[in-house]
């Protein structure tokens, strides 16, 4: 069994290929979600407007959206002939998975970033403004303070993206050599009678998720002890 496993790690080049594809897809999704999520979070956290509580609640509840439901909705959206976005021919491509996962993790990024930004002392923005900063510059000053928390939000959402199955299955399929990801690979390789490959993929996925979580916790604890004062000193 162990020999088989070592063999499949070393012999099956597809394991590397599947892992890299999975990293790329989830990484792109996290990046996209951060790019549109952080500005949204900044606005929610720093501005006072009507319905702010409602919007925050909506983002918080969307964190728990079942991936199978989102996957199915995206499948309907991307279906070649009946879907409103079918003309893009995105169904069963990695791009569709990237878009789907970016949507999935946006609420995570937004909610975590809002919390991080709100934790920053509001005096910092005021201080920056009194020192002659524009509103945008003041926002950046606040963002800089919240950077650690936002970084954690990004990592957490990457973790969610790389481990989800519903979207990857619905809009990625598990097409040999094209859209097979770590999660879908575990499933389909077992169906194909390659349990060693499935086990190898599972070990890779678990090690990644555990390592990332461990790093997350460590960073959070370090922040609690020394990072925060350090950052405060800078201002």
């Amino acid at each position: 069994m162990l020999d088989d496993l070592i063999l499949s790690f070393s012999v099956d080049p597809r394991i590397v290929e599947i892992t890299l594809r999975s990293l790329f897809v989830s990484g792109s999704a996290a990046l996209i979600a951060a790019l549109w999520g952080i500005p949204i979070a900044t606005i929610i956290a720093t501005k006072n407007f009507h319905g702010k509580f409602l919007i925050k609640t909506i983002f918080n509840s969307l964190i728990g959206i079942p991936t199978v439901a989102l996957g199915f909705l995206l499948f309907l959206t991307f279906s070649r002939e009946n879907g409103p976005l079918g003309f893009l021919h995105l169904l069963y491509t990695p791009t569709a998975v990237i878009i789907g996962e970016a949507i999935l993790i946006t609420p995570i990024i937004v909610s975590m970033a809002v919390t991080a930004i709100e934790a920053v002392d509001p005096e910092i923005a005021n201080l920056a403004m009194t020192l002659g900063a524009s509103e945008a510059q003041a926002s950046f000053a606040v963002l800089k303070e919240a950077l650690g928390g936002i970084f954690l939000a990004g990592i957490a959402s990457f973790n969610r993206a790389i481990g989800e199955l519903g979207i990857a299955q619905f809009v990625g399929g598990f097409i040999f050599g094209q859209t097979e990801l770590l999660t879908t690979g575990i499933w389909i390789e077992l169906q194909l009678g390659n349990p060693e490959t499935s086990i190898a993929l599972m070990i890779i996925l678990l090690s990644m998720v555990f390592t990332i979580n461990l790093a997350l916790n460590t960073i959070q604890r370090m922040r609690g002890k020394e990072w925060k004062p350090l950052l405060n000193l800078e201002t």
Partner: protein, 322 residues
Amino acid sequence: MIATVTTVLIIAGSYVYFQSLIRTRMMISTTTSLYETGLLNATKQAFEAKYPIDLAFLAVGTGQAILQAQGGNVDVLLVHSPSNETQFLQGGDGVCRKIIAYNFFTIVGPSSDPAGIIGSTVTDALKKIVDYGRNRTGRIWVSRGDGSGTHTKEKSLWAKANFTYTQISTEPWYASSAQGMSQTLNMANEFGAYTLSDTGTYWKLSKDGTVSLVAFITETKDLLNVYSVMAVNQTKHPSVNLTKAITFIRYLISDEGQQLIDNYGKDEYGQSLFHSTVQLLKQNATLQIVQWIKDYAFIKEGNESYECPPQYRDSRYPDLYS
């Protein structure tokens, strides 16, 4: 602003990148029983070495495979359910059907054969299984239950044995896996239950040592299993790439493709998992198996029956039927 631009750039970039990878791609929706034996990946390797076309298989049950084809999501359909295929062609969704392979279904079960079906006909065996199941507690029969070709076959066998499918499928001894063939065999193995399987998947799992089920009934006319390929109709579904689809069909029915089907699994399992049909149907009209295939998998049109009735052929590709 920057965020929007970068987002668009990333999506567009990955879109262009992946589209360039899949530009040469052709989608084939197919049945799990063909895919899980590994035959299709062997075909993929051989085919891609010859042609600049990448084959992308979407392995689902026949019912789901046909839905994908009707939605225009795929270019080719490769399945094993003649009744569903006939409806698919009649609905105007498919063209150029070719029968490419056959094997048999088999009724498998625990080696102790608690219902005593060994040596029975299919009809008697199903009756014995029902009798046994009704007098015991526990799952005695595992069904695919997923609208696949195997599931369709199972339903027709229950009907033939005079059982009402909707009734027996709700009885406590009857379990529906709603999964692929491998998973269903694994489940039957766990329960010590009987199930209907295609021989290809069963032999593979049996030789691998994954399941210890025994095949009790096989190679009778009732259990014939015929695989066909057809292109999705480009006239109705404009996004379909018919030229690529025909290239693939031509390959499957070529001597090379047919030999690949015949020889697949011989080395590994000591016997062929599938048998080719193209030369068989052309030449040996008197063989019993040819008669069986014609009775089971040909489509009746008036007094004649065809592999593909003329109205569903494409006049541009007469070589498929010569």
